[in-house]
């Protein structure tokens, strides 16, 4: 079929890109490192470096080429790798920091924005390697720039590994004491997914192929703009408008994914249909909720608004892509969303409301700054609550908390760039130390008798 000019369609696309911050948030290449294992950690590091640099050699240049030809910004080019706790399991080394430094070096050679996969899957229990990896996190994240780490501590099928929850509280505490920025690169998951292209939680799962291209789309600004035209309309119209918009955004993501896959000769994995906000004005998920009729994000009604948004994004996106996966949905990272920052600073958006919102959004408590003196047990207790929500509701949840060294409620911490800045949020008083000290496992929940 020959294409004829339809000015309104073309102008709409150009306006979405130029004024509404439409972009492809990330093209992420997943690379299996399972064949890089060796007893000698130096050999293992060499193999990892060589493989990543070989497989992703053309990732950045290809991404840039696609950006120019299609006129659509691709904000991040990233790599995710097999969880390092698996790759390093046979290494005779206590400290895995050299592996993190190798990933960092490879990322810098390639010119990518982040590399994810300094990860461990410990939802049912630890291997020796999982423990070594987790204990290496504070050093690994504070002595590297581009490495992201994630630890899965719970799943719907396995329950919650409370020993891992307790340990992660201490690890986040230790990392924050060295450099709070390290905590911005560390996610604690429940029901982690294997094909997520978004950081900091991206890793290349063991069920994935040798190498794969996953694409994460974005576009809160485009959805916000579209919703402005249905003021006062019933929710049916709101949902329909979001679906239509999500469809268009995803089609663009699918096109970029196919092009990247073809040019790099790497199979296409999934498009992750996420609304990922940035600190830029007009690129906010909170703003979408406010356009729906809420005075400020965080008041009563916010959870319902977010539930509708999250569901409609998925419904609109699934038909636009041949394979959908990852975290798909609306992200609510506080520091990365201008509307959330404002609502938190006004004291309207609190941690309890954010926790409720995570029951219906795509991930969890994300990029939340807490007082610098928050105890490890309190951090663990927050992780446990969030993991329980994920476990019971059969969804991915995550915690990315930043204890802001030397800062108190009312102050703010700046991360710079896409990570934005966050006001320090108040937490509940009272100790959960005895609860966390129990350890063991919280059993997997019943999947019937749903009430």
């Amino acid at each position: 079929m020959s294409y004829l000019i339809n000015s309104s369609e073309i102008l709409q696309t150009i306006e979405m890109i130029d004024q509404q911050h439409l972009d492809v948030r990330t093209v992420t290449m997943g690379i299996s490192l399972l064949d890089c294992a060796d007893r000698d950690i130096t050999v293992c590091c060499d193999r990892i470096y060589e493989k990543i640099c070989r497989k992703a050699e053309k990732l950045v240049s290809t991404g840039e080429q696609i950006e120019r030809e299609f006129g659509i910004p691709i904000v991040n080019k990233r790599v995710s790798v097999t969880p390092i706790s698996l790759v390093a399991a046979s290494c005779e080394a206590e400290d895995y920091t050299p592996l993190a430094k190798t990933l960092d070096r490879a990322a810098k050679t390639l010119g990518i924005n982040f590399i994810g996969g300094f990860s461990a899957l410990a939802h049912k229990g630890f291997t020796e390697s999982d423990k070594r990896l987790i204990c290496s996190i504070p050093r690994a994240l504070t002595e590297t720039d581009l490495v992201c780490s994630s630890v899965n501590v719970a799943s719907t099928r396995a329950g919650i590994n409370m020993d891992a929850v307790a340990l992660m509280g201490r690890i986040i505490r230790q990392t924050a004491d060295i450099d709070p920025m390290g905590c911005a690169k560390l996610v604690v998951f429940s029901n982690a997914v294997e094909d997520n292209p978004f950081m900091a939680g991206a890793f290349h799962g063991v069920g994935e192929p040798e190498c794969v291209i996953n694409v994460g789309v974005s576009g809160p600004g485009v959805v916000a703009h579209a919703l402005k035209s249905c003021k006062g309309q019933p929710f049916d119209v709101v949902a329909e408008t979001i679906k239509r918009t999500a469809f268009k955004i995803t089609r663009m993501g699918q096109l970029v994914a196919q092009e990247a896959s073809r040019r790099l000769d790497v199979p296409f994995g999934v498009v992750d249909l996420s609304l990922a906000p940035t600190p830029a004005r007009g690129d906010s998920v909170a703003e979408i909720l406010e356009i729906m009729g809420l005075e400020t994000c965080g008041i009563h009604g916010t959870t319902a608004a977010l539930a509708l948004l999250n569901d409609a994004v998925k419904k609109g996106g699934v038909m636009a892509s041949s394979h959908v996966g990852g975290l798909s949905g609306a992200f609510i990272p506080v520091s990365e969303d201008a509307g959330m920052i404002a609502a938190a600073e006004e004291g309207v958006l609190c941690l309890d409301k954010l926790e409720a919102m995570t029951c219906v959004c795509s991930v969890g408590l994300d990029m939340i700054a807490v007082p610098g003196d928050t105890g490890a047990e309190t951090i663990s207790a927050i992780i446990a609550d969030e993991a329980a929500i994920g476990m019971v509701n059969n969804k991915t949840t995550a915690v990315r908390l930043i204890p802001a060294k030397g800062k108190q409620v009312g102050e703010r911490i700046d991360f710079g760039g896409l990570l934005g800045s966050a006001p320090i949020m108040p937490l509940h008083e009272g100790s959960a130390a005895e609860f966390i000290a129990r350890g063991g496992r919280i059993p997997a929940p019943l999947q019937s008798l749903k009430n």
Binding site: I5, T13, I14
Partner: protein, 89 residues
């Protein structure tokens, strides 16, 4: 390869002539053309065929941008596929 050239500017005389001659110099064939005025702004959209254009896409995009800037025109070129993917099933 087919592409969409879009031109935005404050309306003035000779914009179409200027842009089409730029394209002709690069052996670019115009397949379809549409132009509108939005308030005092001029928007022109062209579907072009790059089959005979010898300049690599990146350089062409930069050339059009630079030549456009000389006359205060905002000229973009994008592959046509993106519009088709986004708006047609």
């Amino acid at each position: 390869m087919k592409a969409i050239v879009s031109v935005f500017a404050k309306d003035s005389k000779g914009i179409t002539a200027y842009v089409t001659s730029l394209l002709a110099q690069q052996e670019i064939n115009i397949l379809d053309i549409s132009q509108t005025l939005m308030q005092e702004y001029f928007a022109m959209i062209m579907l072009v065929d790059l089959a005979d254009c010898t300049l690599p896409f990146n350089e062409l995009a930069e050339l059009l941008k630079a030549k456009g800037a000389e006359r205060s025109l905002d000229i973009h070129i994008q592959r046509q596929d993106i519009f088709e993917a986004m708006h047609r099933i």
